[in-house]
């Protein structure tokens, strides 16, 4: 009898080209390589310098999302991209993909979107695959039972040239979640609570597997929100065992296997979940039924409290004090009722259809408070079309929000969608780092429901008051 294995170990083993030894890391085969305009240009330069070609061009898939415009006239109307350097990156990716015969979903492609939204959406991301991208939120794809992690640009070049990476095997970390999420509390609150508990370095060196009946009850969009922020706990990747929910999500997607190949694939995927008795290097338990809507108050995602709570006091911690000074907050201060200037709904964390539905459900028949700038940016063009088919765009526009083309947008502000200096932004994205959304911008991370509630009242609000 073979020893019981975890989901991670099964995927790892089936991708070992050469197993690791004490002296050398494993050579790990990569099934799916996603690239975008910001972290790929220097990798192509290396290919050119060394006279190399992509080994398996059909396994690399390119899109543009980070620095692309979200204004319709700049995407479709022929208006110039307002950020000149971004326009250059877009052109360079077009040139690189043409020269090296890589499939690219260009700026005007109906399938374009944030790289971590479109991988699953197109059915490219599948259980048991290894997926990498020059982007730390590649952890998102683990929601489908893939081993997916972010890499640097040098490694983008390695994958292009050899379809492989040199990797040391990570340790395993089980996060067991039990109980029902209360009303008004969603996947974003759950992952923020987990990061608050283990800390922003708590997962370093580990691959997290989210387990338990609470995770099993989440839909795919919610599972992606959870896995997405694994990196915010320092983890290499996050994974969730594939199940019927996963198979239903993938069935019929354009790049998923079809017909007899589908049946064979599903049979294989059913073997992936961690075996009973499989051992993890570390384990924690979370009671979902005790959770509340969460909100960050500081400059990393681990600085998080329930929306009705007060900012902790840490008198002897100068780093904590500096963070609060940046945010303009005082120790012990409650967040509720604090004025809000900007609300951003979008990003690879919360830019999927169900996120937009949740935000719209609260905004329907209500108005964004005077003086609040609310920006809603769908995660992909497909999400945008589906949202419009349901009339969600009308709900946002009638409430007074802006409705844009897809992209990373205000999550990192590379395309000019910025939070002004000193302003408070409640954002459904994943990073509240200093300056992330603009120089001097103050970011409070929250769920789409909490963000919508804050938009309506113009103040930090517990969304349960408006349900």
């Amino acid at each position: 009898m073979t020893a019981p294995l975890t989901l991670f170990e099964k995927v790892w083993r089936s991708h070992e080209v050469v197993p690791e030894t004490p002296d050398t890391p494993a050579v790990l085969y990569i099934d799916l390589h996603l690239i975008h305009e910001v972290t790929s240009p220097q990798a192509f330069t290396v290919l050119r310098e060394r006279g190399l070609k992509p080994r398996r061009p059909e396994r690399t898939f390119a899109t543009m999302d980070h620095s692309t415009p979200t204004r319709t006239e700049q995407v479709f109307g022929g208006a110039p991209i307002s950020v000149e350097a971004a326009a250059r990156q877009v052109r360079e990716l077009e040139r690189n993909c043409a020269e090296f015969s890589l499939e690219l979903l260009g700026l005007r492609d109906a399938r374009r979107g944030i790289v971590h939204i479109i991988g699953p959406e197109l059915g490219l991301t599948q259980p048991g695959k290894t997926v990498v991208c020059g982007d730390s939120h590649t952890s998102t794809h683990g929601a489908l039972g893939a081993l997916a992690f972010g890499i640097g640009t040098t490694e983008v070049g390695h994958v292009l040239a050899t379809q492989c990476l040199l990797q040391r095997k990570a340790r395993t970390f089980a996060v067991n979640v039990h109980g029902r999420l209360p009303e008004g509390v969603g996947a974003k609150d759950l992952i923020l609570a987990i990061i608050g508990r283990i800390g922003v370095a708590g997962g370093t060196g580990h691959v997290i597997e989210y387990r338990g009946e609470t995770i099993g009850a989440l839909d795919m969009d919610a599972r992606m929100t959870v896995c997405n922020m694994s990196i915010e706990a320092g983890a290499r990747a996050g994974m969730i065992a594939p199940d019927e929910t996963t198979f239903r999500y993938l069935a019929g997607r354009p790049r998923a296997p079809q017909g007899a190949a589908w049946e064979a694939a599903v049979a294989g995927w059913r073997q992936l979940p961690s075996d009973p008795g499989a051992r993890f290097d570390r384990e924690i338990d979370i009671d979902a039924s005790a959770l509340e809507p969460m909100l960050t108050y500081g400059t990393n995602p681990g600085m998080v409290i329930p929306v009705g709570g007060a900012i902790p006091e840490r008198p002897d911690d100068p780093v904590f004090a500096k963070s609060l000074a940046y945010m303009g907050f005082a120790p012990g201060q409650p967040l509720r009722e604090h004025p809000v200037n900007v609300v951003f709904i979008g990003s690879c964390t919360n830019g999927r259809l169900s996120d937009l539905r949740t935000a719209a459900s609260l905004l329907r028949g209500r108005k964004v408070a005077a003086g609040v700038h609310m920006l809603v940016v769908p995660g992909s063009q497909q999400v945008k079309r589906e949202a419009e088919a349901e009339g969600l765009d009308r709900v946002f526009i009638e409430a007074g929000a802006e409705w844009r083309e897809s992209g990373c947008s205000m999550c990192l502000g590379m395309n000019g969608d910025l939070v002004p200096k000193g302003h408070y932004a409640v954002s459904t994205s994943n990073r509240n780092f200093e300056g992330r959304q603009g120089i001097g911008a103050r970011t409070l991370l929250a769920s789409p429901l909490t963000a919508a509630a804050c938009a309506v009242r113009g103040r930090i609000t517990d969304p349960r008051e408006l349900l």
């Binding site: 980070h66 360079e92 640097g152 050899t162």
Partner: protein, 193 residues
């Protein structure tokens, strides 16, 4: 890559914990398509005021920091985004080793590929280094030790393959390309020859 065996320098201390790569180099400088010249944007929002003038109080702007190639950083350095622009900016500025009690995974990987040494030390040694800015420190890769001016030698963990690559100037891409036969055999096993 140039082989590295030893590094000797005065230290510069930036004690903040959880320094993310958005601080090391803010996203607005990622629109470049080359690797060069990023040193001037290193820690841009901490180094320069709103008018673009250097902030005198920021440690890297102080006279004693010039020429230092060893950065003593706080716990969990380099978390967040996978941007390799972060180690590119550090090395372009002249930093060739980062010493901390913990360094984020992706940043550490990226650092090693660019001749930037990630050095993880125990809290006691870390505290000493934080409390003695400008200390003359040497790092020896062969023995994986960092030696304090007191003569105390502190061992630090370094993955053997990474050490081999650093010391011999071997680049991983060459190593992977040399595994061509095994990669082809793997692909044949998986039925995609």
């Amino acid at each position: 890559m140039e082989p590295i065996r030893t590094l000797r320098s005065r230290t510069v201390v930036l004690p903040a914990s959880d320094v993310d790569t958005d601080q090391i180099i803010p996203a607005r400088f990622l629109t470049t398509t080359t690797r060069e010249g990023l040193g001037k944007h290193l820690f841009a929002d901490w180094r320069y005021g709103p008018d673009g003038a250097p902030r005198a109080e920021f440690v890297l702007n102080q006279a004693h920091a010039s020429g230092c190639s060893i950065l003593i950083a706080g716990h969990n350095f380099g978390c967040g985004s996978s941007r390799e622009h972060a180690p590119w900016a550090l090395t372009d500025f002249g930093i060739h080793a980062v010493v901390s009690t913990q360094i984020a995974d992706i940043f550490r990987n990226n650092a090693l590929k660019n001749g930037l040494l990630p050095v993880i030390v125990e809290p006691a040694a870390h505290r000493w280094l934080i409390e003695h800015p400008g200390a003359e420190v040497s790092i020896d890769l062969d023995s994986s030790t960092l030696t304090l001016p007191t003569g105390e030698a502190i061992r630090f963990p370094l993955e053997p393959f990474a050490r081999y690559c650093l010391m011999n100037g071997v680049d991983e891409l060459g190593f992977l390309l040399a595994r061509e036969a095994q990669i082809s055999a793997y692909e044949a096993r998986r039925g995609q020859a």
